[in-house]
Symmetry: C2
Subunit: 213 residues, 2 copies
């Protein structure tokens, strides 16, 4: 396998779009989800995000990276103003609609309607879930962190509500995301299904790993 | 599809391991990589991480979440003390060795040797790469951010060096991670191969999406 080598000088000299695709692909496969919010005037917003990161299990926390403002980011603004938002997984049947969420619509239209997805209000949670998603998570904003290196922002939310297909939940709490048909993405625009290799046992020195399942 | 519903009260009442598996699975598929470092005494360290997040393309930045210290986290300590580290992708042939990197070894042994991987020093970069990895990234530490919600830490690094298989790089800069045989993970211990559905065109209002490739 012939290997290519690039360094900092190359990164600076690359065409902007080439650099954006390269660096966005480089970190590996990513979670890809729709984040839904409602502004104080009741207008619903939905965006697609691949910059999600697990922060902790107790309390249950998820982080999302937002690009710098201005321009105004509707999802970010709604989270700060209302404190509530939802994270919704993507499966193949809704992939085109989910990707269309990345288009920049006027802030006064319901993006659910524009892309053809259905807002779903569940158990008095104030932000809309995406009805078509198989895994839905309701979060409450708890921390905003400014990243000085490039003016991006990390928003941390605490998980309040979870909806998932019964057949995807295993006895030990592990969610079989393939049962839920959750997709993954790479780069800016590539979507993938997955095939499980195996779950592996907890690793300890001098202990042989075994396959779980 | 029967749906289950859990809320904040359930999360608190769950058995600890059940909660850890559930919350770690909930965010979707994740990047999974080996992070390699060398301490000031020359002892090499390698760990497996699934808490990677893209921070920006220009400058090219990647973030990693670290759990709270104490206990001392060797990878974290080495990054702070030496400023340099590498991120190395995982493919199926080295999966067991990569997962074994999560075992807690004594800080005075080379974890490369313990798990059976090969340190690889390239172009005067001071931290070791993993020779067996198909995609290798050399980074320089630039920002440490304390997350107050749960005392985790976000470390931001700037990409200095990249090695990748020539046949994985597409004309527009997109890296075909399936060509490079990169895996993804879910939860704490489940590993997956991927199958590309499609790349999709840049989304705009009132424009129909098309498949790229």
């Amino acid at each position: 396998m012939t290997s290519l080598h690039f360094n900092s000088v190359d990164f600076k000299n690359f065409d902007k779009n080439f650099r954006v695709h390269l660096i966005n692909s480089l970190g590996g496969f990513k979670s890809v989800v729709m984040v839904a919010t409602k502004n104080p005037n009741g207008i619903e917003n939905i965006g697609i995000f691949s910059s999600l990161v697990h922060i902790g299990a107790n309390p249950p926390l998820i982080g999302l990276i937002f690009r710098p403002s201005p321009p105004i980011r509707d999802t970010f603004k709604n989270i700060i103003e209302t404190s509530y938002y939802t994270i919704n997984h993507i499966h193949k049947d809704i992939l085109l609609k989910a990707h269309q969420c990345s288009a920049k619509y006027d802030e006064n239209v319901s993006e659910f309607k524009e892309v053809g997805l259905t807002p779903n209000y569940l158990n008095d949670f104030s932000a809309p879930f995406v009805k078509e998603s198989h895994i839905k998570i309701g979060l409450k904003f708890i921390e905003k962190i400014d990243i000085l290196s490039n003016r991006t922002i990390l928003i941390i939310g605490e998980i309040q509500e979870v909806y998932l297909p019964e057949n995807a939940l295993q006895k030990d709490g592990f969610i079989d995301l393939e049962q839920a048909k959750t997709l993954t993405c790479s780069g800016l625009d590539s979507y993938h299904e997955t095939q499980k290799i195996n779950r592996l046992s907890y690793a300890k020195p001098d202990k042989t790993l075994i396959f779980i399942d």
